[in-house]
Subunit: 205 residues, 4 copies
């Protein structure tokens, strides 16, 4: 069989994308050179003309993931809650477009496949998002938009929990899917925002 010849960069991209798809759909244990090759439509051995080894493939996949996440960090607007909102909506839309990412973001599969270094990268990615959320929430607390009584991390966990929950089409919603059936990212954020503001101490006085 003679496959179309493509420049390395293109093949690398194809392979990285295939890796993402495979891990997301079937799990790391199916991320084999053979599976990758089949997915891309080339011969087994050819994989290693484009990547030195499997680990590098995973790193390329993480790159893709990273770039996608990066694009959802909103510009530093004035209002922290507004910022948090764009972030959340962005993330939820990202997941809607790329369901592959879902199982990656909240899962340490990729990390496992990438060895120590890859695990750290993913940790870093997650950490950055957490830090962003926290930053927004603390600012909001300082401005009195959100109650100062709650420990910031509690709020962070809640927000992350909502993102995760709204993003997961899977298990979390399985039993209760009828609830917010097609709840759009914006709707979810609106509900969350109202809730957060609701608790504001200012309002109580």
């Amino acid at each position: 069989m003679t496959t179309e010849r493509l420049p390395t960069e293109q093949r690398q991209r194809q392979i990285a994308e295939a890796a993402l798809r495979i891990v997301a759909e079937h799990g790391v244990h199916r991320l084999t050179a053979a599976a990758l090759a089949a997915e891309v439509g080339i011969a087994d051995g050819t994989i290693f003309r484009h990547f030195r080894n499997k680990e590098e493939i995973v790193h390329a996949a993480i790159d893709l993931f990273e770039k996608a996440l990066e694009s959802t960090f909103p510009p530093p607007t004035e209002d922290p809650l507004e910022r948090l909102g764009s972030f959340m909506v962005g993330r939820l839309e990202l997941v809607r477009e790329h369901p592959e990412f879902l199982r990656l973001a909240f899962n340490d599969r990729l990390a496992e496949a990438a060895g120590e270094k890859g695990a750290h990268r993913i940790e870093g990615l997650v950490g950055r998002s957490v830090a962003f959320v926290r930053q927004c929430l603390e600012e909001a607390q300082n401005r009195g938009q959100v109650t100062r009584e709650a420990p910031p991390m509690l709020l962070v966990w809640m927000v992350i929990g909502v993102i995760r929950g709204a993003a997961t089409g899977g298990p979390l919603l399985a039993t209760v899917e009828k609830d917010l059936p097609g709840a759009s990212p914006t709707q979810v954020w609106k509900a969350l925002e109202r809730f957060l503001r609701n608790t504001t101490t200012e309002k109580k006085t």
Copy 2:
């Protein structure tokens, strides 16, 4: 070397526990027949005198996990928030005692090792917990202990998010560990409870 002969039931339990430990500490890729045998202290072939194949071992491990989770569902007390509190405290304490479970609960590793059927079981386990949390929250909303404005699932995701966050010693806290340093399960719940109730004060006044 001839190991002491034990009845199948005991060996099965030992093996299932060993499986839990191995997956938790080293990941699925180290869950091999040889590793299990070594952990239990028997010869590798012997494993298959007690289980027909690896999948069954994983199922036994999930059984253990299930039983542990089961034990944290509190008795059906009157007050739904109180019930939710015992549940949450129970779960956090469980994780504190058995850190192995952490990587299992919020991770689909075990599911992956157990094939389709195992994945469904874990999904079910998670689903049951979600349903419980939801039940408590809806009751609380009906009683006016928690604002009725928020969609129940939003609250569910928040609570689950807090449980996950408080349970995970790892990445989530990494950058901000000073926050709730040794926050005990009860302290976490108290903070969450105050927050949940807080949202209703407006209406009360």
Copy 3:
């Protein structure tokens, strides 16, 4: 195919011997797990139940080689030339019995297959033999059995050259094989000894 089951120690020995045979007869490039397995009569994978990896197999082979060489170091008799004679005869007889060793002793094939550590071991083996020969010759010079005029290493190289030459059935003799047709180890040594003593300065005076 069901092969006879043997205890690891026996299989290890078989495998190490097979390794020696293969390297000697066909060269390192044919020393593959498959070839070893075929030679021993077991399945490919089985090889690695008895050795952790190929390198360990080569080390086991070197062990065999080492033991054989060791056995040809004669006891420390009074007369150095007599000692040298037993050594040489021993070595030649060893090679006659185990032609496999020939290509190993004067070849760095095994060394190459064994990695750094293996190469050093073989170097050490050769070094020990050289040192032994040298020791004998220097003593002989001190006693006046061999001329003191020749630098010791010159004599060493000569003796080693004769051992190698007499041992090699191969290329070295190819063109001139009729010479010392069945020259027995003892005959070769006798000829060499006469030659060495012949040069003695004592006799000239």
Copy 4:
């Protein structure tokens, strides 16, 4: 990157030389098409525009080696010992200039890489040198320059042994390097010559 285009003959030479260098410095296992191409500075596929396959490359390398050896056969002078001397000095100087050759001459690595045919060629090369040495020594014996009592092959082995020993900087000298520290080729030959002639003095008196 497009490399300068060179006529096949030049590239062939470059490749053959690269082969010699690689085998000498790193061993046959590194003699790969990719390594050759890198050494020469062309793309790996290009190698096979100049040689039909790897075996032919090795043959070209042996050609080079052969030519170098050829050049050290001295003209047929009157005195056989003098002839032998030039030969030996020539060989030792060759090795000093081209240390690559060392590992080739006393090693069947190249032979192994070249298959049956290549092995025979190298055998022939060695055989020719042995025959030359023998010729010289027999003449010398006939002229009474060297004792007639020693079987010619014994002398041949000795001489070859000395050449090998003096050429090998490696293991052979490792333990005793102080001996003939920078022993020049001529010094080595002088020592050997004195020794060979020495054996005849008895009869002369």
